[in-house]
């Protein structure tokens, strides 16, 4: 297995992007899941469709919309450009692309975790003097930890594999915005680089296996804790 300095940088960048995207999306995902499970409001169905849309839309479409939004003439792009923080074609754009594409997976898992909490536990907490935000932190958060973890690993894994949206908003600049899938795409286009592509594929597989193992181990630890 041979890895060039560009490959190594792609690996680090992939991990950095996936981790940042997951951490960035986590509080929003948790808040949104809570809103969907525990709150009644008008327009819930619309919100649900919007949240799940990236799951069914081609990533390229999402990338294109992000480009319109974050580009020089986009609503957000203008503001960012004015404040000297261009985002397009930087690793931050890759983070946003990954966060958008993986977000529905995160929300879905956290929702499942929250839905499995017995409503009466929440009622007990409220009647024992806890305000809604107190119940959120002391009951809902710890009891949906499994869902949060499952969602985070799913999102992390999805981010590692993100291609379509990333290539549009972040480009494919080696050493700057080139993640593993983009590097593999480059290698795959030239017949002489099959070994290089295979090396990166192997790295991809190793990272995925590690993510799944960590997920399983943490899940087991949670089970053991709740069985005490």
């Amino acid at each position: 297995m041979t890895l060039t300095p560009e490959d190594i940088s792609a690996i680090w960048l992939s991990l950095k992007v996936a981790l940042t995207a997951t951490l960035l999306a986590l509080p929003f995902g948790f808040a949104l899941a809570w809103l969907m499970v525990f709150r009644k409001f008008r327009g819930k169905v619309v919100l649900e469709v919007l949240v799940n849309l990236p799951l069914t839309l081609p990533p390229v479409v999402i990338g294109f919309f992000l480009l319109l939004l974050l580009g020089k003439n986009g609503w957000i792009g203008k503001v960012l450009d004015a404040s000297g923080m261009p985002i397009i074609f930087t690793w931050k754009a890759a983070v946003l692309a990954s966060a958008t594409v993986g977000f529905p997976l995160l929300v879905r898992s956290i929702r499942l975790g929250m839905e499995s909490i017995d409503q009466q536990l929440i009622e007990a907490s409220r009647s024992l003097g806890a305000a809604w935000y107190d119940t959120l932190v002391t009951i809902i958060l710890p009891l949906s930890l499994r869902g949060i973890m499952a969602g985070s690993s799913l999102m992390f894994a999805r981010s590692l594999g993100e291609f379509g949206a990333t290539i549009i908003v972040a480009g494919n600049i080696p050493g700057m915005t080139q993640t593993i899938p983009l590097a593999i795409y480059d290698y795959a286009s030239s017949p002489s680089s099959v070994t290089m592509a295979l090396s990166l594929c192997l790295v991809s597989i190793i990272i995925s296996v590690v993510v799944l193992l960590v997920h399983e181990l943490l899940g087991k630890q949670l089970d053991r804790r709740s069985a005490l």
Binding site: S127, L128, A130
Partner: protein
Amino acid sequence: MNLRIDAEKKQGSFLLQLKADVSGDRIGIFGQSGSGKSTLVHLISGLLQPDRGEIYLNDECMFSSVKGIDLSPERRRIAIVFQQAMLFPHLSVKANLLYGYRRCHAENRRIKPEALIALLKLQPLMQRGVHNLSGGEKQRVALGRAVLANPRLLLMDEPLSALDDTLRFQIIPYLKSVSEEFGIPYLFISHSILEMQLMTDRILVIRNGRMDETTTPDQLARNSMADNPKGYLNLLHLADPVLQNGLYAYSWGRNSLLISGGGADRASLFELSSREIILFKKHPEAISARNLLHCTVTEMFESDGRVGIVLSVNGEKLVAEIVRSAADELDITIDSPLFAAIKASSFRKLA
């Protein structure tokens, strides 16, 4: 405690429309499942908002659609004991117990954890995880948790329904003692007449989402005599038995009762169905039933074609149940002298 409620809540096709004003420390809410008891618990505790109306607890407004008041559940200080213990699975027994206590303002902390732990005998459970408790232990911890929140009202929402008979009668003394010891009034919600008789003084009967009547446990038991498979349940608190020829002899006022299912415990609670009592106009010469009591009719009541005969046995009260034709044939009237025969095996020990 005074609870004043005049509220309406529509849930799907079910409409709860309640108007009641009750005072007392041991109030029961009786109704069959689907009658709206649970919705009422939610309305009183603030977990659900009425569509319109008002709820007052001790003259303090909890909810009023006219005044635009809706006190949040945590500010109402009404703790709930659920049918299932509902202990927080990620917390220890101790953390569960103190959950409400820690959130209670210092000036309201009347009940101290040490006193409650001693009363409910929770000390041996403190170091255990909530998953390692039996059903009865869980319910005791749940009760302790609710009481330690120092509520001004305890809502007991069918707290005994999920327990088997043995456990149920083990928990009842705890439920009663915490309320008496710490002076916390409670609303006891149940569909069991026996539990109503044991736990309450006044009862609101709910039927199909509406207030049916306000009654006493005894009156409720009388009204339901014909429908209840066990008839009217006579409850006898008996103590200090003496073993006589394999049967336990208990003194009951100035009478003596022979009971086969007694026990060595100092004090026991027995139930005796009104249908297990056979009445004789004259002394039966020879009879296999081990208890033959000389009594006088003090009162008679009707319940759906059945006649309830309230008997005075040397000052002690017993209710027997016979059919109308038997009452006519025996020509039973108030003050009639009668003999009541009860088999030693007819008494069921509850606790």
